[in-house]
């Protein structure tokens, strides 16, 4: 059985279509990435899965059942923006979040204590939420998501606001839950963050699915037209080569997308005559490159990178 099946869901607002006929399937036990730039419609899709919003068209099945009648207790949901009562103590807050998911008070308290320990914030359980750092609040919110031990976890931008140490802690915990059978659905706009974790993805742009399926198959389909060139010197010559379709320059290395049928050796030759080559490799395309390839955007439009996040600005809500 599939954990989640989404079939042609659409959400229209007065001036724009937030989600336009999106379909995807999340197999049970998968780590699934719902990827796309800010404002692509990820959060709106998730809200429709959770029955927080009604889709204007299309159907949603969670574990084979309609969430409208079956409810969404089988899902744990970590919203993109933190939803905690600022003036409540951490422990009371978590108890409340467990209770509204139907967990009795006693087992809930036991689980809360365990999770607080696991997350390393036991000392903070009698503190009010507004005394906590953003990262700690994020952890509290995450604990609130898993207390009712749902078979499916939907995490909307789970790593935003966390430092690298805590990103790794969170990743480990999520991977651990997955090993024990929990289906995980991520949404992320920073694709590198989740690329290595996901077994399957759905790439969304402007409310429409760009590509969907297992990551391995997508990468294979998209071919090996990506190069990585490590060098010393000025890499701008790459932009002028006829074989090159696009370049991401990172100072001392460049990710290169070749035109279809181009010969990588020609690029290598050109490189040797312009810069000092340290590394030259034909690689699987990154998700970023796949996205740019499929959407046909320029490097500036590749909103999938952290520095582009600011430029893209805050996407309209809802």
């Amino acid at each position: 059985m599939n954990a989640i099946e989404v079939e042609g869901i659409t959400k229209r607002y007065e001036n724009h279509v937030a989600v336009d006929g999106v379909s995807f399937t999340v197999p049970e036990g998968a780590i699934y990435g719902l990827l796309g730039p800010n404002g692509a419609g990820k959060t709106t899709s998730i809200r429709m899965i959770l029955h927080i919003l009604h889709p204007d068209a299309g159907t949603v099945r969670v574990l084979g059942r309609d969430p409208r009648t079956a409810g969404t207790d089988c899902v744990g949901y970590l919203p993109e923006e933190r939803g905690l009562y600022q003036k409540m103590k951490v422990f009371d807050q978590l108890l409340f979040l467990a209770e509204i998911k139907g967990v009795a008070r006693r087992p809930a308290s036991e689980r809360i204590t365990q999770w607080l320990q696991k997350m390393g914030i036991s000392d903070w359980k009698e503190r009010k939420v507004d005394e906590l750092s953003k990262g700690m609040q994020q952890k509290v919110q995450f604990i609130g998501t898993v207390l009712h031990q749902p078979p499916i976890l939907i995490l909307d931008e789970p790593f935003s606001g966390l430092d690298p140490v805590n990103v790794n802690l969170m990743k480990d915990i999520v991977m651990d839950l997955n090993r024990r059978g929990t289906t995980i659905i991520f949404s992320a706009h920073v694709m590198e963050q989740v690329e290595r974790m996901c077994s399957a993805i759905c790439l969304i742009n402007k409310g429409k699915v760009v590509v969907e399926g297992s990551l391995a198959r997508i990468k294979k389909d998209c071919g090996t037209n990506s190069l990585v060139l490590g060098f010393e010197g000025d890499g701008n010559f790459l932009r002028r080569l006829p074989e090159v379709e696009g370049v991401d320059l990172h100072g001392n290395y460049a990710e290169i997308r070749m035109r279809d049928g181009a010969d990588p050796t020609r690029i290598l030759e050109a490189a040797m005559s312009h810069v000092k080559v340290r590394r030259f490799e034909v690689v699987e395309p990154t998700l970023n490159n796949i996205f740019i390839d499929l959407v046909g955007g320029t490097a500036e439009e590749a909103l999938g990178r952290p520095d582009a996040e600011l430029a893209a600005g805050e996407a309209p809500h809802v």
Partner: protein
């Protein structure tokens, strides 16, 4: 169901534990007692001693007035001890009686002269009395403020005029006899219900019954406003911090709304119970200290407490849901304060309607206002306290309130469903209507 309880418990515990709640609940009775006694206190200050210049052009009125004031201890020369403490201390004003009569002057001349002297502050006020008590502008009272002639002077003047008329008609009555004749009568008001039974008799009992109804109405008024806006702000906080998404992924909007309104309703009830206990023990103490007060408490109908609870629950539900709906269509407190104006106005207008109803509790207006569901909690409660509304009106009121609760709940849940996830600007009326139809 246990989830609704979780919401109720959270709303209740969080609010009851707040310091502001504890302080307000405990200080409330003191504040209310103060609020009630302040006007009495202020009025008891009276005007104090005043220099009253009197120009008597009639030749008789001045003496009559002075005699009357003296008889009632309103002259400075009187013994200050006996001059005080009359009628709740409301009429303890005293006058220094300055005779400024210039014989042969007309009223207009005296007026012009005394205006100047008043301007120079030779005295605090003047009183001109012409020679025909029935002529237009025969009596003129001048002072620096626009306040009318004080009641004690006014009454003394009227008695003096009666005296003068009787002298004119040579009825041969002296001042003593006249005072005797013009003494006001005392009427015993008796309230009789539809079955012909006397519900209360005497001013005290009626004051007690009306006072209780007004006190209860005042508690409604405060509670609806304070806790209604608390609900509204709660919803806005939940929207602002996006807790709403977590909540709506766990429970339905209806469950949430029921839980929230019930939880905060219980908080309000807790406060009222504390206040009622204070009032109860306060009145026991009061009756023990001042036995005359027993007449007030004996006028209290115990059924009023039942009506209070019924009308409170129904009224609170209506207003709480309205405030919740307002909260769910706004994003900031400032916005909500504006959007809540119509709801606030409904509460305030019902409170003011009580004044009209007090005067004529069985008028068409009173009946209509007591049946209209948004004003019935306050108005019907008052009518139940001071009159005997027929059963059909009570039933109709309760039925209409129940229907209103269902309608408002239905509407609010829909506005809530869409509005809570709508961030950004406040919804306009046409948008609201679309939400109601869409949800």
């Amino acid at each position: 169901m246990s989830r609704v309880f979780a919401v109720i418990r959270r709303e209740y515990m969080v609010r009851v534990k707040k310091r502001s709640f504890i302080v307000l609940t405990l200080l409330g009775p003191i504040l209310i007692a103060g609020l009630y006694s302040l006007p009495i206190l202020f009025m008891s200050f009276g005007a104090g001693d005043q220099r009253l210049a009197v120009a008597d052009l009639s030749g008789v009125m001045g003496d009559l007035l002075r005699a009357d004031l003296a008889r009632n201890n309103h002259l400075v020369s009187d013994d200050p001890e006996t001059g005080k403490g009359m009628g709740l201390g409301l009429e303890n004003d005293r006058y220094e009686f300055l005779d400024v009569t210039q014989p042969g002057e007309s009223v207009a001349q005296a007026r012009a002269r005394l205006n100047k002297e008043l301007g120079a502050d030779r005295f605090d006020a003047y009183l001109i009395m012409g020679d025909d008590p029935d002529a237009e502008n025969n009596f003129i009272y001048g002072s620096h403020s626009s306040s009318a002639l004080h009641r004690s002077v006014d009454r003394a003047l009227t008695r003096a005029a009666i005296n003068m008329r009787s002298q004119r008609q040579s009825l041969g009555l002296d001042a003593e006899a006249l005072a005797d004749l013009t003494r006001p009568v005392r009427v015993l008001p008796v309230r009789v219900d539809k079955s012909g039974k006397e519900v209360s008799s005497g001013i005290g009992q009626q004051l007690g019954a009306a006072g209780l109804a007004w006190g209860m109405g005042f508690i409604f008024y405060i509670t609806f406003l304070v806790w209604g806006t608390a609900i509204m702000r709660g919803v806005i906080e939940e929207k602002g911090s996006r807790i709403m998404e977590v909540l709506l992924a766990s429970i339905t909007p209806t469950q949430f709304m029921v839980g929230k309104v019930t939880g905060i309703g219980l908080v309000a009830l807790t406060q009222i119970v504390v206040w009622a206990a204070c009032a109860f023990f306060g009145s026991i103490w009061g009756v023990a200290a001042v036995p005359q007060l027993a007449e007030l408490t004996s006028g209290i109908n115990p059924a009023m407490f039942g009506w209070f609870i019924l009308l409170f629950l129904l009224g609170f539900a209506i207003y709480a849901l309205l405030f919740a709906a307002v909260g769910s269509m706004c994003t900031t407190d400032q916005e909500a304060q504006q959007a809540a104006q119509p709801v606030l106005l409904l509460v305030v207008v019902s409170f003011f309607a009580m004044f009209a109803v007090q005067r004529a509790p069985d008028s068409t207006f009173a009946v209509a206002a007591s049946i209209f569901p948004l004003s019935s909690p306050l108005v019907m409660l008052l009518r139940l306290g001071i009159t005997d509304p027929p059963w059909w009106q009570i039933m109709l009121t309760v039925a209409l309130m129940v229907v209103t609760i269902l309608a408002v709940a239905w509407l609010a849940a829909r506005i809530f469903r869409v509005g809570t996830l709508m961030y950004g600007k406040r919804a306009t009326l046409p948008e609201l209507w679309r939400w109601v139809r869409a949800a």
